[in-house]
Symmetry: C2
Subunit: 361 residues, 2 copies
DNA sequence: CTGAAAGCGCTAACAA
DNA sequence: TTGTTAGCGCTTTCAG
C-alpha cells in the first residue's frame, strides 16, 4: 500500500504547481502539517489525545489547504451516514414545506445533509420511497406516514426513526396537540353561537384526522355536559388538498351548517374558494376554521381563522429527537414515552363570525 | 486479504442461522451464486461481458438475499455520488416547493437521491450551503442563485451544474420565458385599457427580475410604436414574499396606478391582502397580475390573473439536463447554447378588469 | 501522544 | 468469460 499517492496530482500535465482543487485528502494535510494521517484524523475529530500544539498545526494546515473530509470514505468506515432522510406526503402542501424547511435547517446546522422525499400522499409510493431511502440513510423522519404500524416498527428496528404526526409504541414522535386545537376551534364557534357545525375530515388513513375527530367528540361531549347543544355534521373524508375543499363546500351548503371546521388549511382554502364562487358570504353566512396556519392563511380575503401549528418547529424538534441519544425502541414503554407534543393555538381572523340567527345581538 | 470475512455474522451469538439483516454484502451474493465478487459487480451493473446464465444466477442470488449495494463504497471508488443537490432560495415559497417536487420526483425515478437545501434568500447562506454541499455532491441544481457569476463558474468547473432561472455562459440552464410572460401580461392590461401601470419588482439581485424588467421595457416600446401610450411606474424592489406585497400595495395606491404587475405571485398575494385591507376593490379599482401561478393563485378571492410558469416541469427538466451527457462548460458557446427556455402562458382570472376610466364601454 | 497498518464494500484494471 | 488484486479516503485498533 503506497502511502504517498495523492498530491502528485496537484501538478497538471505542464508540470506547473497548482492549488489542488477539491481533491485535497487527509494525506495532503498530513504532509503539510508534518504528521501522520492518523493524527490528522484524530485532531480534526477533536480527540483529546492529541497535543494542543499538534492539533493547532493540523487545523491550520487543513484550513490552508481547504480540506474537506470525504464523506463517502468516512461513512464507509464508520458505517454511519452523514445524512438524514425526510419523508413527507406532499411538498406542495405548504404545511409540509414548512416542516421540511425547519427540518432541513436544523439538519444542516448539525453538519449533516437532508434528503427529502415526497410520496404524493400515496401508500404504495411511500413504500417505494422508504425502501429506496433505507439503503442509504439510517436516520429517518417520517411526516404523517400512511404505512401500517408493523411496517413502521420494522423500519424503526433497523434505522433510527422519528415520526411526525403519528404515534407508535416505542418510536419517538413529534405532534401538535390535535385534541386541544380542535377543542379551541370548537369553543370559538360555540362562543359565536353556532350550533350546527360541519367537520370536513382528512383522509381516513390519517392519524392526525383520527386525533382531531376524537378531540372533537370529546369537546362536544364536554359542551353537552355544560348544557350547550351542538350538532356536528360529518361532511366526510377528503384528500387534504384544496380540491377536496370544493366538494366539502357544496356539502356544507346542502347540510345547512353555519360553520365548518376543516381538517387543514388546504381544505379550508378550497372551501373558501368554492363558497365565494357559489355566492355564500364568509363569514356572514358561513364561518370557516382551518388547521395548521400555513403562510397564506393570513393573506386570504377573508383572512382565515385557524389553529396555529408550529410546522417549522416540528421539523426542527424531530431532528433534535433524532440526533439526541434516542433510546432504542422499547414497545413496553407504550406510546407517549417518547412523544413530544407541541402546543397549538387558535388564531382568530376574519373567516369566523356570529351565527346568522344570532346576528341581531 | 481474507476473502471470506462477511457472512460469519449471519450467525448470532447462539449460533442460530438467521437472515442477514441489511448487512448483505457483495461477498455474500458471490458465495451464494458461486462466483467472484467481480462477477457480481459486473452482472449487477449490466455489463455485456457476463454470460447470461451467470448473470441470471447472480441476479437471483442478490434478490434472494435482498442485496443492496453500499452506496458509500461505490461512491468512494467511482468518485461519483448517487445524489444530486438542489439549492433553492425558500422552501416556503410555493413556486420553489413545486420546483423541488418536480426535481425530486425525477431524481428518484433515476434511482438517485435528492438533497435539498434552502438558503433563505440570502447570499451568505447560499455560499455556506454551496460549500457544504460541494463536498458530498458532484451534481447540483441551483434555482435562482444569487451568487456572483465567477463563483458560479468556479462551481461549474468542479461539479456538473444546472441553473434554474439564471443564465451563464457555458452552464446549462432552464428558465421560463420571462420576457414573453411579461409581454403577455402587459398586453392583457393594455387591452383592458390600462395606461398607468405599476411594476412591483423582485430583489435587485434577481436574474428573473432583470429579465422581466427588460421584457417589460421592450413590450412598452413596442406598444408606443403602435401608437399606444403606457406609463410604467416602477414601484421598487421587494423581497419576493407576501410581506413585500404589502408595501407595494400602498405605493400602488399613492402612485394612482390602475393596475399592478407583480414580480411573482407571492408579492401579488401580499398586494391583494393589503388592497382588501385598505378597501381598494380588486379588480374594480385596481387590477393585479402575478407571475408563476402557484397553487393557491386560483383559490384566492378574487382568483389571481397570472403568468403560468411550469414549475414542476422546470425541476424535472433541470434533472434531465443534469443527467444527460451535458457537455463541459465552454464559455465560447456563449449563453443560450445550453439554455432550455420553457414557454409560459397568461392565465386570466378574476383579479383583472377594465380600467376604471373605461368602465362605461 | 503519535505512527503503522488493517480494512469498510465496492469497482476497475489486469491476468488467465 | 471470469477471477485476482489494488486501491478509493478515512477511522481505528494496536504498538510504540
Amino acid at each position: 500500500m503506497s502511502g504517498a499517492r495523492s498530491g502528485s496530482r496537484v501538478r497538471d500535465r505542464e508540470g506547473v504547481e497548482r492549488v489542488p482543487e477539491g481533491v485535497v485528502t487527509i494525506h495532503d494535510v498530513a504532509r503539510e502539517a508534518g504528521v501522520s494521517i492518523a493524527t490528522v484524523s484524530r485532531a480534526l475529530a477533536g480527540s483529546a489525545t492529541v497535543a494542543p500544539a499538534t492539533a493547532g498545526r493540523v487545523r491550520r494546515a487543513a484550513a490552508a489547504l481547504g480540506y474537506e473530509p470525504n464523506r463517502a470514505a468516512r461513512q464507509l468506515v464508520t458505517g454511519r451516514g452523514q445524512s438524514v432522510g425526510l419523508v413527507i406526503p406532499d411538498l406542495e402542501n405548504p404545511f409540509y414545506s414548512s416542516v421540511a424547511k425547519g427540518m432541513q435547517n436544523r439538519v444542516r446546522a448539525a453538519g449533516l445533509t437532508a434528503i427529502i422525499a415526497d410520496t404524493d400522499e400515496d401508500v404504495a409510493r411511500e413504500r417505494e420511497v422508504l425502501a429506496q431511502l433505507a439503503t442509504d440513510v439510517d436516520r429517518l423522519i417520517l411526516a404523517s406516514p400512511r404505512a401500517a404500524d408493523t411496517d413502521l416498527l420494522a423500519l424503526a428496528a433497523r434505522s433510527r426513526v422519528v415520526l411526525i404526526n403519528r404515534s407508535l409504541a416505542g418510536v419517538p414522535a413529534v405532534t401538535g396537540d390535535n385534541a386541544d386545537g380542535i377543542r379551541q376551534a370548537l369553543g370559538h364557534l360555540l362562543a359565536l353561537g353556532h350550533t350546527r357545525i360541519g367537520y370536513a375530515g382528512g383522509p381516513v388513513t390519517s392519524w392526525s384526522d383520527a386525533e382531531r375527530r376524537a378531540g372533537l367528540t370529546a369537546a362536544v361531549d364536554a359542551a353537552h355536559d355544560q348544557g350547550r347543544g351542538v350538532t356536528i355534521v360529518d361532511l366526510g373524508a377528503f384528500r387534504p388538498g384544496p380540491a377536496g375543499g370544493l366538494a366539502a363546500a357544496d356539502l356544507a351548503i346542502s347540510e345547512r351548517v353555519s360553520a365548518v371546521l376543516a381538517f387543514n388549511d388546504q381544505l379550508a382554502l378550497g372551501l373558501l374558494g368554492r363558497l365565494a364562487e357559489r355566492g355564500v358570504a364568509v363569514p356572514e353566512a358561513m364561518s370557516v376554521v382551518g388547521f395548521d396556519d400555513v403562510p397564506v392563511a393570513r393573506l386570504l380575503a377573508p383572512a382565515l381563522t385557524t389553529v396555529v401549528v408550529p410546522a417549522q418547529r416540528m421539523g426542527a424538534a424531530a431532528v433534535d429527537l433524532l440526533l439526541a441519544g434516542t433510546p432504542a425502541a422499547r414497545p413496553e414503554d407504550g406510546p407517549g414515552a417518547l412523544l413530544r407534543v407541541l402546543p397549538v393555538e387558535l388564531q382568530v381572523r376574519r373567516s369566523t363570525a356570529q351565527a346568522a340567527g344570532r346576528r341581531e345581538r
